[in-house]
Symmetry: D3
Subunit: 136 residues, 6 copies
């Protein structure tokens, strides 16, 4: 079993916000991350897949194809977007780093399988001081 990881980046706006709560309650729980006028991040995404090395190519998976799958399923939907308003797979979800990791996992699990590998871990860093990891 070998593991290979592709690093990608995207920039997006978001707001930690629960529609069932008023602004005051949101502010109390989420602090300045709940600013109604949004803020944003340079997210760094690490997609790790696992499986066996193909003796024909020496590859677990062709990284260009993996990168293309991440582009189609994740980056084109998130990059330069507002995560609360514009991202179909984050609808009705508080855009915390934790929830982003889980939602990106769901986006990529099937496409990675079609490349002949298994999704192992989604790691996403929101700032240089925090990141979430999800292993399914």
């Amino acid at each position: 079993m070998i593991y290979i990881t592709r690093r990608e980046t995207f920039n997006a706006a978001h707001r930690l916000f629960k529609p069932q709560w008023d602004d005051e309650k949101n502010l109390q729980v989420f602090g300045k991350c709940s600013n109604p006028n949004w803020h944003g991040h340079n997210y760094v995404l690490y997609v790790s897949v696992k499986g066996e090395v193909d003796p024909e190519t020496g590859f677990l998976v062709n990284l260009k194809q993996l990168s293309q799958a991440i582009k189609t399923e994740v980056l084109e939907k998130l990059d330069h977007k507002n995560i609360n308003l514009e991202v179909d797979f984050m609808k009705n979800t508080i855009p915390s780093t934790e929830n982003l990791a889980i939602a990106i996992w769901n986006q990529l699990q099937e496409p990675v399988k079609q490349l002949g590998a298994q999704l192992h871990c989604i790691k996403i860093s929101e700032t240089e001081n925090n990141f979430a990891e999800y292993y399914g």
Copy 2:
């Protein structure tokens, strides 16, 4: 003459947008950076000051005081904010990296003087692949 630099970070939302143009023209010039629903960045700010070392302390400037000035004049106004909508010193200014560097220079030139040093350079990085520098 010695130079000392303090590194700070802030997260903000913005949109490259010229109000005199319609959305189509904005899109044509600014591309996805003009998304009406905003996007955002983890900005990294480097404030460089110059002057002579105080033989009493070995310091050009007390970095805690410099950091406090940056906090008051820049970070509290930009961090977790929408640069287009909420930042007084960026009003009527397209929030490009270049314009941010110049505006932050204007915010800090006087406070740095009051600490007994001269502002030398504002460097601000928007993503890991681009940054602007302004020397006044």
Copy 3:
């Protein structure tokens, strides 16, 4: 199960030194890390916790509270200190990176539980070329 990690930094002095050995034996085993006049590092600490996402907040744990716990239990005791002389939870312990990781785990296991999560990993890097990890 989701994992979230908080990165913190601190600066400290230390000396690899076993009081039962004389200076010569210490030097032989620990090399220049045993310098009697101390040396020091910018330590980087990664505290990883695990658990389930709270559907109310989208958080596994509130990172501000986690950061506060790390500050109280670890950073205020280690930052700008001499690890051999001044840190209660490192008393009678050789301040190797390995032992630091284990001791910081012991400091944080209970406070993390009180935040509703489980401590998963303490990773601590002493220089850019080495780090230790402890999983309990």
Copy 4:
């Protein structure tokens, strides 16, 4: 059980190339990585070992000895070399990141055992955007 990791770097030339295929087929599968005139990388290698802390020294393993073993078994054979042509332990192996990780594992498993620890993971990064991990 504690884990400790040593980071090392080396620079090498390589070419993704399968001798049983002609240049056209190699180009089709490996793209520009198959350039017959070679290209190269600054590889970053992380060697992680595991075991128990020796109460005598506070060490899992003496990092200088680990670093020396990596130097002898891996770096002196790879650094400033052509991986396809000059590295005995990569003979008849396509020099993908995956295969490099596995081959370096095989080089280090026994020497790490002789230092009183167990090899845990070989992580090798080819560019800032991809890395492979092998756990045996």
Copy 5:
């Protein structure tokens, strides 16, 4: 006057080698960097340009156009190539970091002018421990 910098990366093989010298003399002067079978690097390139901010756009220069110029004039000729054998603008030049910086300057000076800016600095890093800068 404002300065803006674009960071790009490329991977290439090279050999420090002077054809007028035999292998022994090359080895004596250039050490292992003269390996006849090549070695390689992940180069990091910083292209800095200067000029005035266009009040229409807030830009000194459109970074997408700058990035495109770097791609056409530099990256497509260097990325995944052998610098000694395949790069027209490095012909008959020892591929030291210094000479690369100067040659890339010559490639970009005119194209940057056509974008309405002035080339200010080419900085190129060969490893994490060394880089060259050229200001024309």
Copy 6:
């Protein structure tokens, strides 16, 4: 004129402390950096030299020789040392980042001249958030 920079690292203990002041005054001016039991840092040093490229070698200066000069004149005196107590060229000097930059300049100016280049800049970073630069 070309510029080339070598990056080196060292770890040391220090204390911001003026012997003419009592501990209380030191604490008031220098804060926790004045801890009588010391603290320490992983310093990162960038030595930049300038001059013309030697057409014989393509080098401004042989980086191995530059690195050796830095090792002899700076690293062997600072690495794993107590800057206040053990470093001859920092005697009677408050070990601020500013003063370190100036003192390292004085150590290296002559040796760099003997390598056929001119010292251009000493940049030294004490933490990831601050650095000093000295140009003579």
